[in-house]
Each structure stands twice: as C-alpha cells, then as structure tokens.
C-alpha cells in the first residue's frame, strides 16, 4: 500500500500539474512533495519492521537496498523541489506548467526503477528517467542546452538499449534453463536460480548491462553526455541528476552483479567494475586539475565519485559494498547541495564561468559559505561523511589485496582535490560586489539539511543507520 502511494503521488502530481492553473501549481507541488515524504517514511518503516514491503503481487518490492535508494531519492527530490519553488529564480515558480509535470514524472521513473522486482520493468523505468528529463535539460532553451539535451537523449538511449540486450540475454539464460515462467525476470526468482545459469551467457549479459547502465551511471568512457547535461540543466534538475539519477544506474548494475556473482563467481564482475571505476576517476581527475566552469566541475566530480562507488563495489567485502552505498548517499547530499547553490550563484552573477566569479563569500554570505563548506565536504575533508566512506572503500581495496588500484585512486583523488581547491579559492575571495540580500530560512534550509546530514554520516551515525547500511549491503551478499 505504502509503495503504491509512493509511486502514485508523483505520477498523479505530474498529471494534475500539467493541467492545473498556474496559481494552484505551487500548492499542488507542495502537496505532492508532502505525500511523497509520508509514503517514503511508511515504506522505510515497513522495511525496517518486516525486511521487505511488496505490492501488486510482488511486482513492486522494496528490500533494504531499495529502501535506501527510496530514502535518497525522496530526500534529494525534497531539497530540489523546495529550491525550484522558491521565488528567487525558481524554475517551478517561473514556468509551473512546463516544469512541475516533468519534475514529478522524473521522480516517479526513478522511484519505479528502484522499487520494482521485475528487471524488465526496471529497464523501462530507467529508460523513462531519460525521457522524462530530456526537456528539463533543455529547459532554458539555449543553443548549448539544446545540444546537451540531444547528446543526452541519443547517448543514453543507445546505452540503455545495450542494457536491454543484456536483459534479453539474462532472460534467455533463465528460460533456457527453467522454461518460460511468468516471473522469470523477477530479481528474487533470478537470484534463486542463478547458481544453475550458464556462466558464459550470464557473463556476456553482464558486459552489456555494465556498459548500458554504466552509461546512465556516468562511468567513463560512457560519460560523455554527463558534463553537458548536468551543467546545462536548471539547478534543481542538476541536483537530481547528479545526486540520485546516477545512483539509479549503479543500482541497476548491482542488482545484476548479485546474479552474475552467483552464476559465474565474483571475480569477473569485480575486475570489470574496478577497471571502469579507475577509468572514471582518471578521466575526472584530468579535467578537475584545471576546471573552467563551476557546474562542469561539479559534473566531472560526479564521474569521479561514481567511479569511487564502482571501485567499492568491485573491491567487495562488507566494507567495500557498505562503503559504496554510504558513498552514494554522501555524494547525493553534498552534490545536490552544491548544484542547488550553483543555481543561486548563476542567478546572482549571471554566470558560472570560474574566470568571472570573484568574491563569492562577500557578495553572497550565506550561499558562498555554504558552497565552500559543501565543496570541502565533497573533497572528502573530515569531519564530513565523504571522508568516512572514501576510507571504507579504499580500505576495502587494500584489505582485499588490490594494492595498485586503491593506491592509484588515492593519487588521482589528490589531483582532483588540488584542482578543485584552487578553483574554490579563486571564486570565494577577491574583489567583491556589495553583499546581496538572501532569502533567510528558505536559503538556509537546503544548506543546513545537506551539511547537517553529512556531519551525521561523518561524525556520529544516528541509531539505525549502521544497521540499515549493513542490511542493504547484505542484500547484495556483501
């Protein structure tokens, strides 16, 4: 029941706000977000109590891992939704009928992807995330955003079609072995049968799935659409895309990883994930050494962090998997806060090119300080959560006997650290315009929530977080 409400709330909200008069749009948006939060809390409580929540005869199913993702998506949707509805340059406030329907549809497709047990339906939902967000990327209708939207649509559609080949092959292996069965594409069924599936076919399928969903997750070398789409999209959409959409791609990969590990042994997927993870961190570090534009810098940093997540999953073990899941959450918090603030910076300065940004802290005291702190958190500076999850991931690597990969990753992280710190220094200080007035509680809320939660994951895990993480990792056999 709670799962159905969770999915219906954004779907109905999207449908209604396409036709509602502009004056009711804000209210409808708030109502949808409120229902979404209530339903998400009910799902989380249900999973905490019973382990899994199901609906529609098992077609919809949230286990500990699904609940982890649901919590993240709804949290970032809330931050982005509040920012979009704010009077200061909020996209929703400016063009409600163009923005809100697609915004909620986008949230719906992401939630469907992580709450369905059917891997075919998951594919449809992940493809749906692209389709719902193409026109959001092109929201500002400039030449650059149009080009970004085109690249995004084409590259992600091709990528996701490759993932479909993988899905077909998994279904083939399944049907060959066990005959056509209504639930043959259900993840729970597959997991039960996985040890008897032909390993070579499942390996081949996993290569397609990794490349396909890896495109959505922004792993190099399939990341080329990402910096454009993330930097051209309006700030709340960038926050959702970078914070949770990439994580949905990773989520799809790990569901299949659990199957391929049972069918062909864990070494196969581990090697591929470590390889793609290192490639992503390398590509990102090369760019981040001298970034030119704030939003592109944040976008490349997403490639870097998703690469780290892939490393954690590849290294495996309890720390690797739990570290990767925690890193997904930490990255979502830090990155969505930063993207939301980058929207305010663009609003105030008219640009996000680093060359023309000076005196940020003096001009926008609240936004500027929040941006600096969140960027430090993103760079993995203690006491914020990313430090903890990065230590967990790299530690898992050394512990599992991968010496070169974690050492190389550490060196590349330092390169990115240096480049981004220099960029921050350049934009934060320098000759300043007179301070601008900033919205008070609305301006401070996303910063306080994002940084507050990052402090919690870094310093003192609230009761239940450790258990939730362990259970989510246990779903994947970590």
């Amino acid at each position: 029941m709670s799962l159905l409400v969770l999915l219906l709330a954004p779907l109905v909200g999207a449908g209604l706000s396409a036709y509602a008069p502009a004056r009711a749009a804000g209210l409808l948006h708030t109502g949808t977000l409120g229902t979404l939060i209530a339903a998400a809390l009910a799902v989380l409580a249900g999973v905490a109590r019973e382990g899994t929540v199901t609906a529609l005869d098992g077609l919809l199913r949230a286990d500990a891992l699904g609940a982890w993702m649901v919590g993240l998506i709804v949290l970032v949707a809330l931050l982005a939704g509040v920012e979009a509805a704010s009077g200061h340059g909020g996209e929703g406030a400016a063009a409600p009928r163009r923005f809100y329907p697609l915004f909620h549809l986008f949230v719906f497709t992401m939630l469907l992807a992580v709450t369905t047990d059917d891997l075919g339906l998951m594919w449809v939902a992940v493809e749906g995330t692209t389709l719902a967000s193409v026109f959001l990327v092109n929201f500002h209708r400039t030449r650059a955003s149009l080009e970004a939207a085109y690249k995004y649509l084409l590259i992600c559609s091709v990528g996701i079609a490759l993932a479909f080949i993988g899905t077909v092959l998994v279904y083939f292996a399944d049907v060959q072995q066990f005959g056509a069965e209504a639930h043959a594409l259900r993840w729970t069924t597959l997991l039960r049968w996985a040890p008897q599936l032909p390993p070579r076919v499942v390996e081949l399928a996993f290569v397609f799935l990794l490349v396909g969903y890896g495109t959505k997750a922004g792993l190099a070398p399939m990341h080329t659409w990402l910096p454009d789409a993330h930097s051209e999209a309006p700030a709340p959409i960038s926050a959702l895309m970078s914070g949770v959409l990439l994580a949905v791609g990773i989520y799809a990969i790990v569901r299949f990883k659990a199957v391929v590990d049972l069918a062909a042994g864990p070494a196969f997927s581990a090697r591929l994930l470590v390889l793609l993870g290192l490639a992503s961190i390398t590509v990102a570090a090369a760019f981040l050494w001298s970034p030119t534009n704030v939003k592109r810098m944040l976008a490349y940093s997403s490639v870097e962090h998703l690469g780290l997540v892939a490393l954690g999953l590849g290294f495996g073990g309890a720390w690797g998997v739990a570290g990767a899941l925690l890193h997904i959450a930490n990255h979502a918090l830090a990155k969505s806060t930063l993207f939301l603030l980058s929207g305010r910076i663009r609003e105030a300065f008219g640009t996000v090119e680093l060359a023309s940004l000076r005196g940020l802290i003096a001009t926008l005291p609240l936004t500027g300080r929040g941006f600096a702190l969140a960027l430090l958190a993103l760079l993995g500076v203690p006491p914020f959560g990313l430090f903890v999850s990065e230590v967990m991931i790299l530690g898992a690597g050394f512990h599992a006997g991968w010496w070169l990969a974690p050492a190389l990753a550490l060196a590349l992280l330092l390169v990115a650290f240096g480049g981004m710190l220099r960029a921050l220094h350049g934009m934060a200080y320098g000759p300043a315009a007179p301070p601008l007035e900033e919205p008070t509680w609305r301006g401070a809320a996303p910063i306080a929530v994002g940084l507050g939660l990052l402090l919690l994951t870094g310093l003192a895990w609230p009761p239940g977080l450790g258990a939730a993480l362990a259970r989510a990792a246990a779903v994947l056999g970590g």
């Binding site: 449809v124 650059a144 649509l153 084409l154 091709v158 479909f164 080949i165 060959q176 209504a182 081949l204």
Partner: protein, 214 residues
Amino acid sequence: MTAISNLLAFFALVITLLLVWRRSWRGRLRLFIAQSALLALLTAAVGALAGKRELIVVALVFLVLKAWIIPRVLARMAAGTPARPGAAPGQSSGVPLLVAGALVVAAYVIILPVTASATLPTAGAIPLAFAMALIGLFVCVTGRDVLGHVLGFLVFENGIFGLAVLATYGLPGLVEAGVFLDVLVIVLLMEGVVMQIRREHDSLALDRLRELRE
C-alpha cells in the same frame, strides 16, 4: 520453423546491409520500413509455429509502430532536407559496407556462448539478429547528421527486438509493452529536439553542434 526463421532473418540482414550501402534518405527510410515489416513477419511466423498467440499480437503492434507510425514521424523530421544529398568527397559506401560485413562475423563470435546453449529451433538465426543490432549501432555512431543517428538507433532497436524473439520467443508482455512505449516516446522526443535544432541552426549537420567543447 528453423528454415523459415533463418530465411526471414537472413533477408532482414541483407536489407540492413543495403541500408548501410544506400546514401539517399528516402531509400534508407524505405529499407527501414521493409526491415521492420520482415521482422514483424518473422515474429508472427515464430508465434504461429510455436503456438504462442501473444507473439502475433506483438508482431501486429510492432508492424503498426515500426512500419507505419515511426516512419511517418521520420518523414516529418526529414521534410525540408535535400532528398539526395550529393556524396561529399571521401564518402563512399565501400568502407562502411566492409565494416558491416566484419560486424556480421563479429556477431557470430560474440554471441557464441548463447548459440552454444540455445535449444530453440530458432537458435540458428540468433547471430543474424545480433548482427543487425551491431550494424544499426554502427550506422548510429557514424551518422553524419541527426537523421542518420535516429535511423541507426532504430535499426539497432529492431535488431535487439529480433534477438529477443529468436532467443526467447519474446519477453513478458508488460516489458514488451513498456519497450514499445519507450521507443515511440524516444522518436517523438527526437522529433521535438530535431525541430528545435533546425530552427536554431538551419541544418541538421552535426558540425553545427559545437557549442559544448572543453
């Protein structure tokens, strides 16, 4: 069953190769329609011979979508571009055709684990459908304009559809329906984006899209 599926898949592959060879947009669009119709026939034949009624429904939907609705959208997208662009220097069909031939061989090699463990009577045609998909991907990534990209993507999609029919007698109905919906929405979104590109740039050639470079 084996003979029919092999024959139809073979014809569909030949059409795909012709599509690589043809330069004129109208000719390529007609070949795409022919390929889609052949795949619909293949699906219906497999459905009839294997006694799977739902496959016949899938074939009908596929026929309407890929051989009628989508080609109409494509024709709308292309309206206004020269029907027979003069071949630019260095653009011959020889090299792409050679690559496509190599892709057929590669398809046989890559898909070997699948054919080795397949027991359905349609197994022999699996590599042919996979080759179609790879060639479609090749057409897509080497497309010189937006239309080439879209057409290549659709051929790629057709190949994957054929692969699913031949290897598994089609996916569960819910997934199949979702896939059809997705493809339709992709093409409609592409049309929206293409129309804007044309308004902005007066052309669909890719060298005009150079706003976003590091």
